[in-house]
Subunit: 236 residues, 2 copies
């Protein structure tokens, strides 16, 4: 449906690809950042922080990419099975299904002759009838598994790329304390920038989004650091 696509574009500035990249990046900044802070609180060498960080990035990117792809497949499968069920229902119990169409139109304010004519028109052709039920009754849009695959890949790659930012300072020959401080500064800046971009893209306040994104990352890293410190000192 061309009208559909054109109008959506008018309302939501920017493309889905940008949204994927922003999503993956703000997530990739948060979790590897926090993990590295937790390890830095306990480890004696930067190398282990780097290894842990890389392992986390790989695991997160694979889980998001591959997991997202499989989820998209299963969603498409669910849609097909719901479609088959609705199609069957319009054949097996047309009276009940027709009453549901009438109920939906009544909710939109149709009454009397208009209500009957609209119900008759939609239920006259099975394809339109089933499509109407899928969207109006179940709130299901036809999924696009191929688009979802690309989306999952973009999110996974953006996650991996962003994960390098909090990790980079630990790859330098400095003390672990300095590496942690540098990681906090660099990642803090990146979280603010990405938070602002994310807010702008979503059409909400960039400032509020920047503060919120920084807060999520900061809380996660703070808690992870505290856990690392506590467990290490408990173990002596």
């Amino acid at each position: 449906m061309a009208v559909h696509a054109r109008h959506r574009e008018r309302h939501f500035a920017g493309s889905d690809a940008v949204r994927d990249v922003i999503l993956g990046m703000s997530d990739g900044l948060t979790t590897p950042f926090a993990l590295a802070a937790g390890l830095a609180a306990a480890a004696s060498s930067n190398l282990l922080v780097v290894i842990g960080g890389l392992a986390e990035i790989a695991a997160g990117a694979i889980s998001m990419g591959l997991g997202g792809y499989l989820a998209a497949q299963s969603q498409a499968e669910t849609y097909r099975s719901e479609l088959a069920r609705e199609t069957h229902e319009t054949q097996a119990m047309p009276g009940e299904e027709r009453a549901e169409v009438r109920g939906i139109f009544r909710n939109y304010g149709l009454r009397g002759h208009a209500l009957e004519q609209a119900t008759h028109a939609v239920t006259a052709e099975r394809d339109a009838w089933v499509r109407f039920m899928m969207r109006e009754e179940l709130g299901l849009e036809e999924p696009a598994p191929r688009a979802a695959l690309w989306s999952a890949l973009r999110i996974g790659l953006a996650y991996a790329a962003a994960g390098g930012i909090p990790l980079a300072p630990y790859a330098f020959p400095v003390t672990i304390g300095r590496a942690l401080a540098a990681s906090v500064i660099v990642t803090g800046l990146a979280l603010v920038v990405f938070g602002a971009v994310k807010g702008r893209h979503a059409g909400s306040s960039p400032t509020r989004s920047a503060v919120q994104t920084l807060a999520v990352g900061g809380v996660a890293a703070g808690v992870a650091f505290g856990i690392g410190r506590a467990v290490a000192s408990l173990a002596g």
Copy 2:
């Protein structure tokens, strides 16, 4: 709309809460499992694996819980701003918006008198008109931010609870190799069980879902282990 809720339930067995728990658990089994394997490939003590794992679990749960809550808020905000825009458009350019309603009904097979009457009925009352445009033209359902908050909390908690499974073996006084082997066995079993439950809940094949879930976890852990081994041996 009671019809809506009742019917959804009939189609999708089980509740949203169960879906949240399954989602959080299968994710919580994958990423902490892979991270622990990556760290085990390089670390000399189980303690660092446990610390890294706990830090990851905390970071992941916070990122999902808090991040999910904020995302739900921003989605609700987007819905409200789109709603305001559609409402404005029905006032500022009623002709064009009425033509869009007509186009949607035409797509459903309405023609002639029925088409005009249905269009007239929907556009007669502004509330119904805007609601119709939101769902049919933009594919937007009214979000429930409070439900989304609970959903994010459930996912985060399930993630944390499941993350304990791959980590548990490292908390015993055994060699790191044995702990890794035990973690692979225990997590492998858990991934198969949760994969099957997930598949069953989604209405698709439990066997296929079990195999897929195990594969994602296995690939992530294998890659993370390989990274840990490679970086550790490169560093001598």
